[in-house]
Amino acid sequence: MGSKNIAERVEINAGDRPVKEINQDIRSQVQAGNPILVSNTMSRHNLGVGLPASADILFEGSVGYYCGGLNDGARIHVTRDCGWGVGEAMATGHITVDGYAGMSAGASMLGGTIHVRGNAGPRCGVAMKGGDIIVEGAIGYLSGFMAHSGRIIALGGTDDAAGDSLWGGEVWVDGPIGSLGVDSKIIEPDPPEVESVEKLLAQHGLDGPDRDWKKIVSAQRLWHFESRDARAWLMI
């Protein structure tokens, strides 16, 4: 994925400054049409939230909770790890995480793409409504929990309870599945679907040899939940 090199970017130092001030600086530079480098990120929360399509921003370091949340088209790159909820509720745009993506990556996202080069934590793609999450490593416990739509693509397998309570979303897995979650099942994907996933991966430089795809979808029993069936769903 093309990205401006560091020398072309306007640097904004995060450090101990109030998050509001950092985000105001980011917005000013976005309005001026400048690509941005945020340095000294210190795992701060809520950095680069609600940015428009013209934004191109590189976070050099680890960020805290909700980085790139409510993204409205921005291209965002984090060079290390993310805390809870990277890209939460994003509508469109593209987020790259070079390290670990933390818990609840892409929670409730509506569209766009999150590309994680490392692993993702528990509840990756929880309640997502659209878009794609590509994880080169493994996805954590309960990933895809209650996802309504969209795709999570994990190239390094899953932890336990994969696709738990999926509604309409899809979890594509190459590699070992720790265990399947409640009301999810593995089905054989259709060739056009595989082609679509492979094409997306190729766009991210991840064209690989033939992958052993397992596509996890809802078994649809929870679509018609009745309280008398509660026992079937209780995990306690």
Binding site: M42, S43, H45, D81, G83, P122, Y141, D159
Partner: protein, 311 residues
């Protein structure tokens, strides 16, 4: 939601400074009250007692009562007691007492009206009060404290009252030197508490965190290692929780099987810093040190405190 933290220094030093910084960075997670469990140089033939007297005007009687109970158990004050010099009604007390059987003495000392004993240990001192980290630190000189390790909590009360007694950390009554901080709620509190009460344990509060501390200590007293007790707590305790427990020689953590309460840690050789939020740990390490997020379900682990001079 609460914020918790733990810290082990490579060598004994200003442990309070680091814990205050870790908690100030998490003040937004709970501003009702803040507390610290600090481990100073362990004593040989005495215990340090921390407590709260409910009425400053009756302080003399309270101290008299405390001393009488102590003497009835063939012990005594080793130093003059000290306390905060504010005008607040509650008084935070620190007392050094001689050798005694902690459990039998406490059974009587806990009956005294107007005094709540909040920690007893060779080393452990629990200091907790209303307000955010800086407030509590200023009032109790936390940043002057010299020690090897400690844990801390910023509390947002959800299930019991707001008071110095109901805030964290909690002492594992009556086990000297064991303390806990906790982010979460237990759902099988009453059943477990009744079981421990039948075994003779008493509780100062109705806070579920105090229960975890006693439950773990009871397991330790049956010969389990801290690692084993933490691991077993994940199955025995029901609810959502991430807690940190400290002893004279270790700090440990465990989280429930739903894995929703975060904890980030930086551990390098003999030193360790852990906090609910990674950004708090980065207050102590401004470079891009590798911080791990202990995000897995049912995860538990421990870190050792090395005796001074062995680091």
């Amino acid at each position: 939601m609460c914020g918790i933290a733990g810290r082990i220094l490579e060598q004994p030093g200003l442990i309070g400074v680091d814990l205050v910084a870790l908690m100030q960075a998490q003040a937004h997670r709970g501003s009702d009250s803040t507390g610290f469990a600090l481990y100073g140089e362990p004593r040989q033939n005495s215990y340090v007692v921390r407590g709260v007297a409910s009425d400053r005007r009756a302080l003399d009687q309270t101290l008299d009562g405390f001393l009488q109970t102590l003497r009835a158990h063939d012990s005594d004050l080793i130093e003059d007691p000290s306390w905060d010099d504010t005008t607040q009604r509650h008084v935070s007390l620190r007392m050094i007492i001689g050798e005694l059987d902690v459990r039998t003495w406490l059974a009587e000392a806990d009956l005294q009206e107007g005094l709540e004993i909040q920690s007893v240990g060779r080393s452990l001192e629990i200091v907790k009060d209303l307000g955010i980290s800086q407030d509590v630190s200023l009032k109790h000189n936390i940043t002057d404290f010299v020690g090897s390790h400690g844990i801390a909590n910023a509390r947002m009360a959800t299930e019991s009252r707001v008071s110095p007694t109901a805030s964290h950390p909690f002492w594992a009554r009556p086990f000297p030197d064991i303390a806990i901080v906790h982010n979460g709620q237990l759902t099988n509190y009453f059943g477990l508490k009744a079981r421990l009460q039948r075994q003779g344990y008493t509780f100062l509060t109705e806070n579920d965190s105090e229960l975890i501390a006693v439950w773990i200590s009871d397991q330790l007293s049956r010969g389990l290692t801290l690692e084993e007790a933490l691991h077993s707590s994940v199955g025995e305790l029901d609810g959502v929780f991430t807690y940190i427990i400290s002893t004279l020689t270790q700090i440990g953590m465990a989280k429930d099987r739903w894995a929703i309460k975060p904890l980030a840690v930086f551990a390098h050789e003999q030193e360790m810093a852990t906090a609910t939020e990674e950004q708090a740990v980065r207050k102590l390490y401004t470079g891009e040190v590798p911080i791990s997020n202990l995000d897995g379900p049912g995860y538990s682990t421990t870190w050792d405190v090395l005796p001074a001079g062995r680091a």
